[in-house]
Symmetry: C2
Subunit: 497 residues, 2 copies
Amino acid sequence: MSAYRTLETRFGRLGTLREALAVLNWDFSSMMPTGGAAARQAQLATLETLYHEQLTDPAIPDLIGEAEAAGGLDEWQSANLAEMRREWRAASVLPAALVEARVAAGLDCEMAWRRARPDDDFAAVVPALQRVLDLTREAAAAKASLLGISSYDALLDTYEPGGRAAAIDVLFEEVARFLPGLIDRILERQAAVPPPVDPPGPFPIAAQRAVAMRLMAQIGFDFDHGRLDTSLHPFCGGTPDDVRITTRYEEEDFGRALMGVLHETGHALYEQGLPAAWRRQPVGRARSFAVHESQSLLIEMQACRSREFAEFAAPILQEAFGGPAAAWDPDNLYRRNTIVARSLIRVDADEATYPLHVILRYRLERAMLSGDLRLSDLPGAWREAMRDLVGIEPTDDRDGCLQDIHWYCGLWGYFPSYTLGALTAAQFFEAATRQDAGIRPGLTRGDFAPLLAWLRRHVHGRAASVPVAEIVVDATGRALDTSAFQRHLERRYGGLH
Amino acid sequence: MSAYRTLETRFGRLGTLREALAVLNWDFSSMMPTGGAAARQAQLATLETLYHEQLTDPAIPDLIGEAEAAGGLDEWQSANLAEMRREWRAASVLPAALVEARVAAGLDCEMAWRRARPDDDFAAVVPALQRVLDLTREAAAAKASLLGISSYDALLDTYEPGGRAAAIDVLFEEVARFLPGLIDRILERQAAVPPPVDPPGPFPIAAQRAVAMRLMAQIGFDFDHGRLDTSLHPFCGGTPDDVRITTRYEEEDFGRALMGVLHETGHALYEQGLPAAWRRQPVGRARSFAVHESQSLLIEMQACRSREFAEFAAPILQEAFGGPAAAWDPDNLYRRNTIVARSLIRVDADEATYPLHVILRYRLERAMLSGDLRLSDLPGAWREAMRDLVGIEPTDDRDGCLQDIHWYCGLWGYFPSYTLGALTAAQFFEAATRQDAGIRPGLTRGDFAPLLAWLRRHVHGRAASVPVAEIVVDATGRALDTSAFQRHLERRYGGLH
């Protein structure tokens, strides 16, 4: 067997382990009773360790070198080999003990955070978080020195292969320049008209779930290869052949769960659209977290919060939930779906204010990693940054620095992907609707086929065969910038509506 | 670190892998959409392969030898070391390729069986089943030659450590001697009185589920460490810290799902009662499949189908489902729970006829393994054996040799455990109720504490620290025989009721 084929077998096994981990993680968040946590942590840590051991087997670099020297690979095989090297290199700098310690520290700290958050007790979680931060720094430094990049870029690389803080700084500074003024204008205009009408509840959970599944199927979610379940924090997990998305229902509000489902459906379509021929191979994976987020935001924000989609969804919602016709008028529904407000919680933020929440976290995590900001000073720094950036300040840490799980479970360098995803979604959707004039009218009939075809061709089907930048340039004709996002906000919110 | 401690670490990792497999298997049967099957098969096969690789690492026998030579272990540690050697020895005879091939052939054949069964097309599954049988024979022969036992005993050993067909023959011949006549008498007596009244349905699934969970909790199931879900075939899966039981509901009948839940609750109590200090170690596992089945049958058949428990359950069921009081009279409920009938399907059989279904399978699988019975002749041999043993004959293979998943997914040598479990359950329950006079009266109040305390002390808490035979003798004062089972049937069914 050629070195390349041997590598395909070995990385296929790694990909399979990764899938097993994904299922166990989904179960952890959606099914597992609380008493199962310690055993599940042991299971996850063991599989992560095995994964790392198999990936850092001394034979791997030899095989990679041999396959590179042998040549004769087609484009996708070459890309697969490059991804293998990338993954091996990132893992090879980390001793197995450090990998295991990071997993254990992340799970410990996540548990501490789950207790500390309802108690609004940031101090209680500081020791566990300090341990996570120390181990994160250690891992980042090792990877940075190998790749000759900064520590922050080394963390970023996990989520955004090839991503650099210098490039993010340019994009985020531009966003921070135009967004606050735009938000002021939007809020002024919204205040000048009566607010949209709220459909009266309650909205039975069974009916919400039925509508959500109806719309998921309409958009293109394949229920032979996926499920919809419930979890405290909505997410998209599982594997490309078996995508598990979750949401959380409230009887008093149908919108939050539904828009959450549509968001996760965007993620799911990406997974289900990855090329089946490259399953469990490095090149067959989603390209980056920002590209993933671009898919969820494209479906939720660009497509499903559009005036066009409100036309399609309104009668379905009216039929499911009843109540006065005025509340289910498409215009009213659209206005409800595009309310902008300064708010404390990132996951509840609208698309206009959301990037400011991300920029805040990006700045703070860089400061914590560099040592410029001590953990004990985080709550104060958070409040100050909220006041400056969003114009609103939390009165407790529950709604401040305890709100997101990321840092506590070890996800540092992850936050930028959300806003990179929003910029990318706007640029993709603008390009798609220019290239195919049938996409927007399709949404009024619930016909997502033209949009999905575009995404399959330009994004999903390419998987990790080319760098992020190449996907963006090929699909939209230019490198990622903030202009499409700005145009989108100006068009949607700039006029009275 | 001492050799023994090193082994504890290594087998702890194996135990953790085993837990991960258990969760993935539970998901496969209860949650997974059909399109996820191929990927899941790959995940399971990969973890099984890793398990086998880690278990057969050449360092393991050296460490075991070193630990045995070093001595200084306490009783449980010694038992743990003996279990390690037992598990390593059984695995070491099987080449990794054979292990992987068996897993793959079992999953393939299970899929073929899932298609063939509704079509009543046994011929369609024969090639896949032949492959499973061939690989099973190959594995059995390898293990048999190493252990100096017969091929069938080598298979049996997987489920019943130390179990021998010669001993089973004695027990099963005795059962086959007294049972048919007893069944004739029971059926005669039942026919002489009017049948019990069926409570009128329908029985809403939500109400069935609520009652099931109420009774599970009453019996002692810990919902912080387990769940109740739905699957096509009820089972008890998951891990000791997170036991997953399933059932299947029918709106027209409350009894089947409920008794199924109580059965699986017996399994679950065993898992939840295993000693926490020995989690994921070989000695900390359930002792054998027969002991496991003894726990489910003890809870379902001995305790929950008793006249005493009917007293407790009747008002709860009446409150949940409504309908005429006569249907919920405890005597009527008891009579409903103890109907005996000749039937075609093992899983639907009552406790009196059930052993005959098992003896049939035991005889047929031995004949197929030895080559005395060709697969193509199985349907005819099945019908003939049913006529002889149970006195009733299926008209198709769906209700004949296609009814059970076991042989198709590779579980050969498994069936005897069901009836060994029934005999053991009767002997345990008889001993328990003699030793603690409070157990039976407790059931009328739904107080399972005395019974559970006895089981925790005599069965659950001992895990795999001593051989099955020692558990039985210590708990009941004698080796396993058929007398308690016969006395139980005579007492429950011998008189008119």
